[in-house]
Amino acid sequence: MSLVRGAAGAAAGQRVDFDRSRARTDATLWLLQRASAFVLAVCVVVHLATIFYAVRSGLTAAAIVARIHASIAWPAFYAVFVVAAAVHAPIGLRAIAAEWMGFQGRRADLAAVVVGVALLALGLRAIWGLAA
């Protein structure tokens, strides 16, 4: 891990012992997790409300699949859902890996990327199966 020798810190006579790029990465991931949580909150509410509504009207699973198949909006909605989940979940799992399994730095990042790509692939494949 490289240490940044910042001009501002050096001018103030302080030892610069933090990694600025690491700080940016972690701060960005935290913001992405919050932003994706916001999207997920909306998606989960729409998803659950739609399921309750559909079941009340007595639609069968086959009928629901047929309607999604005929629609552009629903696969698009679930694609957003999948992307948000694929961004959100690995960032949280990365923190768990760091705290409980001792994964450090790049190793935790790599594990998170693998999980994220897997979630994205599985989710988009499922949507493709419904839509195509």
Partner: protein, 260 residues
């Protein structure tokens, strides 16, 4: 003056009659002795009215075992040096009454968690204060003695935010109570981040660019899960959780502005 009247004038002597009303006349105290591979030793200590946990430890050291190591200075909740783990909970012992914490006339005293033990009830606090330095917990002045005095309005947003967090006495209770510190020892912890937050809100300070980068990230404010154990346990009733949330907002703002 006779010895008798001197004793009668002693406030502790005058309170003696109250002792009869206490649930028991003595208390069994298990005290951690030694270093990390030490053991508990049991002492029997007379109960007194308004007795603090620090009184109990001092009684043991003065009457039963002068080799017992522990720290204290002010005895009135100012210096932050007497914190210990009392019946499993980190507390300032000088202002913790035995009545409030001793269930069944038993006390168990250990050194603070999450810090190396030097001996008995004494921790090595260096790691704790090194984190204050790492979090840039020092004012970076922007003015000289020739400049006019900074005017900080008491009602300003920054001043109120700093006021809410400034009364920390550095006792380490929050650091010992934090699960995140236990899970990842490099985490700066509630006290250091709380200190950084007071400086983020100090309009006289010029060190925020470095400070925000130092407190950002997985070893800094973003590691906090907002479990609020620090806020629950802080003897000064500060809210380090709120300070850390403030740091997350400040870091995010700096990131979006490209200043991180």
């Amino acid at each position: 003056m006779t010895a008798g009247t001197a004793q009668a004038g002693d406030p502790h002597r005058e309170r003696r009659p109250e002792t009869a009303q206490l649930a028991s006349s003595s208390i069994d105290v298990d005290v951690w002795r030694g270093v990390a591979d030490g053991r508990f030793v049991r002492y029997r200590v007379p109960r007194e009215a308004s007795q603090t946990v620090l009184d109990v430890v001092t009684w043991i050291q003065r009457n039963l075992d002068p080799t017992l190591a522990y720290r204290y200075a002010c005895r009135v909740g100012m210096c932050g040096s007497c914190a210990m783990t009392v019946n499993g909970v980190a507390r300032w012992t000088c202002r913790t009454h035995v009545d409030r914490v001793a269930a069944g006339a038993r006390l168990e005293l250990r050194p603070l968690s999450n810090l190396p033990v030097i001996r008995d009830l004494v921790c090595d606090m260096r790691g704790f204060f090194d984190k204050w330095a790492a979090a840039r917990g020092r004012l970076v002045p922007t003015a000289t003695r020739n400049d006019p005095m900074a005017r900080v309005l008491p009602a300003s947003r920054e001043r109120r935010a700093a006021d809410a967090a400034i009364e920390c006495i550095g006792c380490g209770v929050c650091h010992a109570s934090c699960d995140i510190v236990a899970w990842r020892p490099d985490y700066l912890g509630p006290a250091a981040l709380n200190r950084a937050w007071t400086l983020v809100n100090d309009v006289r300070d010029g060190g925020n660019r470095a400070r925000l980068a130092a407190v950002a990230g997985d070893a800094g404010c973003h590691a906090c899960h907002s479990q609020a154990s620090c806020t629950e346990r802080c003897p000064k009733h500060l809210a380090p959780t709120a300070s850390i949330a403030g740091l997350k907002r400040a870091v995010s703002r700096a990131l979006l502005k490209g200043e991180l």
